[in-house]
Amino acid sequence: MSFVEYSDFIQDGDVATVYMGHESMIAVKVQQGAQTQTRYGVLRHSTDLIGQRYGSKVTCSKGRWVYVLHPTPELWTVTLPHRTQILYTTDIATITMMLELKPGSFVCESGTGSGSLAHAILRTIAPTGHLHTVEFHQQRAEKVAEEFKEHRVDHLVTVRNQDVCKDGFGVTGVADAVFLDIPSPWEAVRHAKAAMKKQGGRVCSFSPCIEQVQKTCEALSDQGFEELSTIEVLLRVHDVRTVYLSLPDFGPDSPAQAQPDAAVKTPPSHAPIALKTTTLPRDIPGHTGYLTFATKPRT
């Protein structure tokens, strides 16, 4: 198992995703002899997990079953331990395309946070790219570096514990793309520029507040970035369900048309009709952040 390569069977040391039901998943570090408590009972790693095929059904001690899934950056995003606010898949997907990430891309990112985006970047730039990620919080930097190792992507990433606004990314002239998710991105724009290849590249800044966007855009223009574009993407989840719609009763038809016999045999049906449709949740996340993209021209 690795976050950049599939394997078929669960091995000691893997990080597996245990699927317990709709929207209910946990990430489990697989260790010989270890046990994991789930709400369906105990999972014994040695017998229930190790050697099983990813995707198989496993029965917990209470007799209820779960599925064990191969980890992906998307499953990690919904199971990872939150140490910060994280980026979710909808924004991540947009960022990945708009930054033009692909195998071999060199990317700079700050802050690392809980590593949700970092895992997705690593998946996309493997096997020949590299991610330089900067996090100013020491424990977070250490923790995420540990996770990269466990997920077997540490060869693709360098974690630096420093303040990007003061000290930059620690590299110059190497990045194809830069991503900023920090409180004052406008202070890091010049560092972003310095980290990028002289031939140019793409930059993205994620900010929840419009005032941040305003300042960042000014800084980007001042630094000669082009093609500025700010967007917002929201996910709408449609719940598939069958709904039943009642029929109105307008009373019997006019006596001239009504045939006395028929009326007795088949009384008009007022049973509700079934309709297969979708409904939208009552509340949805209506805002995550604004995504500002720009192109750095050749310098």
Binding site: A93, Q199, L235, V237
Partner: protein
């Protein structure tokens, strides 16, 4: 820049390159060919001059359709502030504010004035410009710039640019798949280097090309195609290096049933051409009568051959020879095709693909149910449809059928913003919808359980319990 000549060679435009022309938000994909007239935004020009220039250079279209690299200084608009009004109370729309007539502007253009100079003339001859607010002046200049500037930027193609181009120019060709929806697909399907991905699309090759870009030439992509042959115009536009095409395989969906049943015959039975040929022809006729016409002309030619045997007309003999040569050529082609089919079939037969991406004008449900069989357990799949109802059908069918988890029917809402000092707001026009996605993850099918890898002597009663809870 001179010290880094080697570095830049990768960034120079070469003849034969696939590039994207850009002006404002308008894109167009073209190939660089000498002496070829290119039409873009109601203008004609030649791309001869761009060869050897760097990508992302902006060119000015000068007389005769010749492109000249724009000098960097021209970029900045040189509008001297001559004062501005505070609001629009004194501005009356009487159609008389601009003193230049259309003819005047045309003459200016003919005199060879550049866009920037024409705009300057327009401003000087506008009686209301000075009274406009600073913001309105900005907007006026921007609008005129769009109209009179005759520049074009030449870009290296990418998934982002091509997806935006197709969505803007020819959304019908890509089933109205919006770029952010495509972005979701690539991520939800966990497309990455080294995996084996199945793609079924009728989006001109845009989806296939995007998947290939994300795989960077590592792994394999199998295009499952409907009809006579795979459509890949969009893939060309990506301008991939040739080794990318080594990972691309194709398999006609009309052979899927045969492959699943184990009756697909891709072996060359006999080195002698005849039997093989008839074999192929028969199969092709059987399976895709309207799509593959190769079988029938061959038969025709064989018939005429036997008819011609009696006479010894030299003309006819010559014709016969030509026919034979053609038949030989066809045979070679068919052999190649057979080999390709066999290679794709071998990749599919192991039924261990790592991902499935569907985006087509076909009813997605049968496509999905047919192709899911080729995936390993615990692998993602994603289906795009312009219509939500067709995905509701997929969802219902998958729930009945089992073998998948994490099913989600979604769409994305996308909004662009104008960000300017004191004038930040959402862009007035927004896309009404970008299509719908159904995504999920495969899991081991229940019935295949006993035959799976479980060999560690698990107690039988436990397995029994599993099946019990399923019921």
């Amino acid at each position: 820049m001179a010290d880094n000549v080697d570095d830049d060679s990768l960034y120079r435009i070469k003849e034969g390159d696939y590039v994207v022309l850009k002006r404002g938000d308008i894109f167009k994909a073209v190939q660089i060919q000498q002496k070829k007239k290119v039409a873009f935004e109601k203008q004609w020009f030649f791309l001869d001059n761009v060869v050897g220039q760097l990508y992302s250079t902006t060119f000015e279209i000068v007389s005769g359709g010749i492109l000249q690299p724009r000098k960097p200084k021209d970029t900045e608009s040189s509008t001297d502030a001559k004062g501005a009004g505070t609001d629009n109370r004194n501005i009356v729309d009487d159609g008389k504010s601009q003193k230049l007539t259309r003819d005047d502007i045309e003459t200016l253009k003919e005199q060879g004035l550049k866009g920037q100079e024409i705009i300057q003339q327009l401003i000087e001859n506008s009686s209301t410009f000075k009274n406009k607010t600073e913001y309105a002046q900005d907007k006026y200049i921007k609008k005129k710039k769009k109209k009179y500037e005759n520049t074009v930027m030449i870009l290296k193609p990418s998934c982002r640019i091509l997806a935006m181009m197709y969505h803007g120019r020819e959304p019908g060709k890509i089933c109205h798949l919006r770029y952010d929806t495509l972005a979701q697909m690539l991520t939800l399907a966990n497309i990455h280097a080294g995996s084996k991905v199945l793609v079924f699309e009728t989006c001109a090759g845009l989806v296939l090309g995007s998947v290939m870009e994300r795989m960077g030439g590592y792994g394999s992509v199998i295009q499952m195609y409907p009809g006579g042959g795979p459509v890949r115009a969009g893939v060309e536009s990506f301008g991939f290096p040739s080794h990318f095409h080594d990972m691309l395989h194709e398999f006609p969906i009309c052979h899927v049933n045969a492959l699943l049943a184990g009756t697909l015959d891709t072996t060359a039975k006999d080195p002698s051409a005849d039997s093989k040929q008839s074999n192929m022809a028969a199969k092709e006729e059987q399976n895709q009568p309207e799509a593959e016409r190769q079988g029938s002309p061959e038969e025709q030619s064989m018939e005429t051959n036997s008819g011609a045997d009696g006479s010894h007309d030299p003309k006819k003999e010559e014709e016969e020879k030509r026919r034979e040569a053609k038949a030989e050529e066809r045979k070679v082609k068919q052999e190649e095709k057979r080999k390709k089919l066999a290679a794709a079939a071998a990749l599919l037969e192991s039924r261990n693909a790592d991902g499935l991406v569907i985006a087509s004008r076909f009813n997605p449900c049968p496509v999905l149910m047919g192709l899911l069989k080729f995936l390993s357990p615990s692998r993602p799949f994603v289906v795009y449809s312009q219509y939500k109802e067709s995905l509701i059908e997929c969802y219902t069918k998958l729930k009945e059928h089992g073998g998948t988890v994490n099913l989600k029917l979604t769409d994305t809402w996308l909004r662009h913003y104008q960000v300017l000092p004191n004038r930040t707001h959402p862009v007035l026009l927004m896309s009404g919808g970008g299509g719908y996605l159904l995504s999920g993850t495969t899991v081991a099918a229940d019935h295949s359980k006993p035959s799976s890898s479980r060999q560690d002597g698990e107690p039988a009663e436990k397995r029994q319990k599993v099946t019990d809870t399923e019921g």
